[in-house]
């Protein structure tokens, strides 16, 4: 593994094209010394203050989800991505009334 990227993002899901907003991004590389074999011996911590919006939302044609995304860049060129979703805010899901 030669690099690891950690980000906090919101993504939209549903019928529309996917949009993504990156709130936090950090890249650790072996080359710069920020990524060593000891990195994986203990849990790593990231810290960020979430913005005031958007809140997590589960609608009819649109869903907004927040997640912590970890992307591993392997030595052979492969990438492994892991998303850990979390809920931000306290929005109740809407149900469909009609189509315009």
């Amino acid at each position: 593994m030669h690099a690891i990227e950690t980000s906090v993002v919101w993504i939209t899901e549903g019928k529309g094209e996917e949009d993504i907003g990156v709130h936090f991004f950090e890249r650790r590389q072996k080359r710069s010394g920020a990524l060593t074999s000891e990195t994986f011996l203990r849990p790593q911590r990231i810290s960020t203050v979430l913005p005031a919006s958007p809140f997590s939302y589960e609608g009819v044609a649109l869903t907004v989800r927040w997640c912590v995304r970890v992307r591993l860049f392997m030595a052979d060129g492969d990438q492994v991505t892991e998303d850990k979703f979390f809920r931000f805010g306290d929005i109740e899901p809407f149900t469909q009334k009609s189509s315009e």
Partner: protein, 370 residues
């Protein structure tokens, strides 16, 4: 005749409301008719001048008569356009004027403060038309200009299509009748030689005339419909006691509605919809889904005097734990207040007032100081 009038007005011939209805119809129709008549007159003058020109004389009539025709046509277009613009101005001016009169320095500061605070809210869209200072409450919402653009589009389409149809009618008439029958008859009567060469009859123009006439008829109908919608039912003004809106909080709404006619129904609703854009094959499609709808106000049978608008107040509550306004490149959550006005013998009018709902926490709603 009187029986028919009773039938049309359901026993209320030429009541005050009907008189105002006819006054509104007459003003709108006359303005539109003058505009279209001017376009037809202009196109007829130019087209006949082109069709009837000969190597010896570029005009088939005297120059002064031609200039007079053009002047009449331009005057008709000018008067018709002025009439329509004046009607629209009359319909929309009251709210603007009231807003301008009540603009105060502290209210402007309040609005600027809101704009600055929105910088802290990513994905919450800015108002395309920020609220103005109101008369009753601090914030007067600006209606979506979609209806006016509809009128502009339908006016342009009607003018272009009417001009096109006029040219086609003249070409067809000239090709089938004028040279072969009318001119021949005239030439026989005055004893000159009949025409040596008959022009080719314009079959293509004749074939195109019918479908284009149908499209033009529909376009003119839409033009009149849009015009009546905007001029018949007057200005709608909505003012809010606080802005931006917050989930779970209640606000007071002040509604002011002018009209030339008796309203059968006045309905105000709060609506939230999702709008998503996606690719389907080679097309880019946009779909809207209404996810929340609540009636805020409804009243039937409202008699409005032209000088005194109908005014009322009611409450608006954004449901607790509901989604705030959201906008990303392909997805949107939008809140709006929709006012629907329905008058007898008049197209139903819908006016949209987009509102921004903020997430609770960071931004406090500005409320009325007084």
């Amino acid at each position: 005749m009187r029986r028919w009038l009773y039938f049309i007005f359901q026993g209320r011939p030429f009541s005050g409301s009907n008189r105002r209805w006819w006054a509104g119809v007459a003003e709108a129709v006359l303005g539109a008719a003058l505009l279209l008549a001017g376009v037809i007159c202009f196109v007829v003058s130019i087209t006949l001048a082109v069709l009837r020109s000969t190597p010896e004389a570029t005009l088939y009539i005297s120059v002064w008569f031609f200039v007079a025709q053009i002047l009449v046509a331009v005057s008709l277009v000018g008067v018709g356009s002025y009439w329509i613009v004046r009607l629209l101005w009359q319909v929309g001016v009251s709210a603007e004027r009231r807003g301008a009169l009540t603009t105060r320095a502290n209210e402007l500061e309040l609005l600027n403060e809101i704009r600055q605070r929105r910088e802290d809210l990513p994905t919450v869209p800015r108002d395309a038309f920020p609220p103005k200072a109101g008369q009753k409450f601090d914030f007067r919402l600006v209606p979506s200009p979609r209806n006016v653009w509809g009128l502009v589009t339908s006016t342009l389409a009607s003018v272009i299509l009417v001009a096109l149809v006029t040219v086609l009618v003249l070409i067809v008439t000239n090709g089938f009748f004028s040279d072969s029958v009318l001119l021949g008859e005239i030439e026989k009567r005055i004893g000159s030689e009949p025409l040596d060469q008959m022009p080719d009859q314009p079959w293509l123009a004749a074939a195109l005339l019918i479908p284009i006439c149908l499209v033009t008829g529909w376009s003119v109908y839409q033009f009149f419909r849009q015009l009546l919608k905007l001029t018949g039912i007057g200005a709608t003004s909505i003012e809010l006691s606080g802005y931006p809106l917050l989930a779970g909080e209640s606000f007071q709404v002040f509604l002011s509605q002018t009209a030339r006619v008796r309203l059968k129904l006045l309905d105000v609703a709060l609506i939230c919809f999702e709008e998503v854009t996606f690719n389907q094959g080679t097309d880019i499609r946009t779909e809207r889904v209404v996810v929340y709808e609540e009636r805020l106000f409804r009243q039937r049978g409202i008699e409005i005097r032209h000088s005194e608008p109908f005014e009322t107040e009611f409450a608006l509550t954004i449901p607790n734990q509901s989604m705030h306004s959201f906008k990303s490149p392909n997805n949107r959550v939008q809140w709006k207040i929709v006012v629907t006005a329905q008058a007898k013998n008049w197209p139903r009018l819908k006016r949209n007032f987009a509102v921004t709902v903020h997430p609770p926490g960071l931004v406090e709603t500005q409320t009325m100081k007084s």
